[in-house]
């Protein structure tokens, strides 16, 4: 005869009224774990995109370039005129003419190091940085047109905006991915909870017979699924974080992909996910349980 040691028959937790086994158990844990694993990467993507957007924005923000294309005999004159104009323009913090070597280094990625670019009619570039208050770009353009017809102001807006937009969209994609992962997890846990409720019809019948209220019965399933989801999600968070840790470290050559990770306090964020998973499981199971119980006498 099968026996269990029983010290106090009234001292068991309410979630023990639900049998511990069943496919819904591992399905809930597995789903939570897998979804959290994916969510860690979505979170890393979102945070990395955010950092990238800020880096691109700050790198290009507050700087501008003036390009002077003029005949050789007027180049020095126009450069001096532009520098003079800039020194008197409100909102300009610094301005300086780039050397030929600096211009050459800028062109090297496209033209290669061996091309004798000294022979080419290169424009003179003037790098300017603006103050926090900024300057009137349109006003500056008009004055440049009057005093140095060959000077063109490039305030980087047309480069910066698409890049920042792209990074922002990547961040949005990460957030959207996390929302979809959360919704998918809620759906899977709801299915698992419904399966568990159907498989435990006799348990529910017995509980109703002895006077259990719906909230007690639902609570027994909710606690069970919440614990399973939390445990599975915690494992997924640990594995996901290890996966992010295993990515190559950040370096200049690697570009964006090597920057996919967390920094500082953000390393704690993956471990917030199990609590969110537990909350999602709690709400999904509670909804499924009350819907099922309302259909029973």
């Amino acid at each position: 005869m099968a026996r269990l040691k029983l010290t106090d028959p009234t001292s068991y937790a309410s979630d023990r009224v639900v049998p511990p086994s069943g496919s819904s158990a591992w399905l809930t844990s597995f789903t939570s774990g897998a979804m959290t694993f994916l969510a860690v990467f979505a979170l890393a993507l979102s945070l990395a995109s955010g950092r990238l957007a800020e880096r691109w924005a700050s790198a290009l923000d507050k700087t501008a370039t003036i390009r002077i294309s003029a005949p050789d005999d007027q180049m020095t004159l126009q450069t001096r005129a532009v520098l003079d104009l800039l020194s008197k323009t409100p909102g300009i913090a610094t301005s300086r003419a780039m050397t030929v070597d600096e211009t050459k280094r800028l062109l090297e990625p496209w033209l290669g190091p061996d091309l004798p670019i000294e022979a080419l009619p290169l424009p003179q570039l003037i790098e300017i940085t603006e103050t926090a208050a900024g300057y009137d770009a349109e006003g500056l353009r008009q004055r440049l047109a009057a005093e140095a017809p060959g000077a063109v102001l490039d305030d980087h807006t047309r480069w910066r905006r698409p890049m920042v937009d792209a990074a922002d969209r990547l961040r949005l994609l990460g957030v959207l991915s996390m929302a979809l992962i959360g919704a998918a997890m809620a759906g899977m846990i709801t299915l698992a909870a419904n399966a568990a409720l159907a498989a435990n019809a006799q348990v529910i019948k017995v509980l109703r017979l002895v006077g259990a209220r719906d909230r007690y019965i639902a609570g027994a399933f909710v606690r069970r699924f919440t614990i399973r989801a939390f445990t599975g999600s915690l494992v997924g968070a640990v594995l996901g974080t290890l996966g992010v840790l295993a990515l190559p470290s950040v370096n200049e050559a690697g570009g964006f992909l090597t920057g996919l990770g967390f920094s500082g306090f953000a390393w704690a964020l993956p471990f917030v996910l199990p609590f969110i998973a537990a909350l999602v499981a709690r709400l999904a199971t509670r909804l499924a349980a009350f819907q099922t119980l309302r259909g029973l006498t």
Binding site: A2, K5, L6, P9, T10, V206, L207, V210, L293, T297
Partner: protein, 223 residues
């Protein structure tokens, strides 16, 4: 305790019970007889609000069943102990935990020794730690009875409680139920076993209700 006023119950287009008007007075002992499929189980379900009459009224503890919320039905069932022929348990919990289940779901503190005393009263103290599937039919019936009375209910309903046990065990269960009746509990036993009813004559003053042609009638004089 429990009263019906011209109550009827229909299911799937057919009427299973009609024109039921009766009262189960406090401390009374009733048998409910009738052939298989006559509606005995349906009537018992009406008595503990698992079903509600499709017409007429069913009053349990002076409250119309149709006006009860799901929570109120649950609270009502705590005052009614039910024993089924196919007594159902939580098979993964030991029998003593099953017996104590009504206390646990009601959030009531109970002394473990009270549960053991009750198990001893129904003769199950030797199997307190056993799982229900490993128990015999008689043991399961007695465990179901112990579970039904652990909350100290006002009413005990038993649906063919002796259907799966031998005559000796039937007498044992009948004796337990009559003892409970002598403690002031209202008892209603649905059975088609006329020998059981005859044997009860020597133990208790019981009345017999008979279901015939969907109607419930008093079968005659007290046994």
């Amino acid at each position: 305790m429990i009263a019906f006023e011209n109550a009827a119950y229909s299911y799937g287009g057919g009427e299973l019970l009609s024109e039921v008007t009766l009262k189960l007075a406090p401390g009374s002992f009733h048998f409910l007889t009738g052939p298989s499929g006559s509606g005995k189980s349906t009537f018992l379900k009406l008595c503990y609000a698992e079903l509600a009459p499709t017409s007429g009224r069913a009053m349990i503890f002076d409250r119309d069943v149709k006006t009860l919320t799901r929570d109120q039905i649950a609270l009502t069932r705590r005052r009614i102990g039910v024993v089924h022929q196919d007594c159902q348990f939580l098979d993964h919990l030991p029998v003593a935990a099953n017996v104590a289940l009504p206390l646990v779901v009601a959030g009531k503190a109970a002394d473990a020794s009270d549960v053991k005393d009750l198990m001893s009263w129904v003769g199950l103290d030797h199997v307190a730690d056993a799982l229900p599937p490993s128990m015999s039919g008689g043991e399961r019936q007695r465990a179901a009875l112990a579970r039904a009375i652990i909350m100290g209910p006002d009413v005990i309903l038993a649906d063919e409680p002796t259907g799966n046990v031998d005559w000796e065990m039937s007498m044992r269960l009948l004796q337990l139920l009559t003892e409970l009746n002598k403690m002031g509990k209202t008892v209603l036993i649905a059975t088609h076993d006329m020998n059981l009813i005859r044997q009860a004559k020597s133990l208790v003053s019981a009345r017999v209700l008979r279901i015939s042609k969907r109607r419930i009638q008093l079968a005659g004089a007290d046994l």
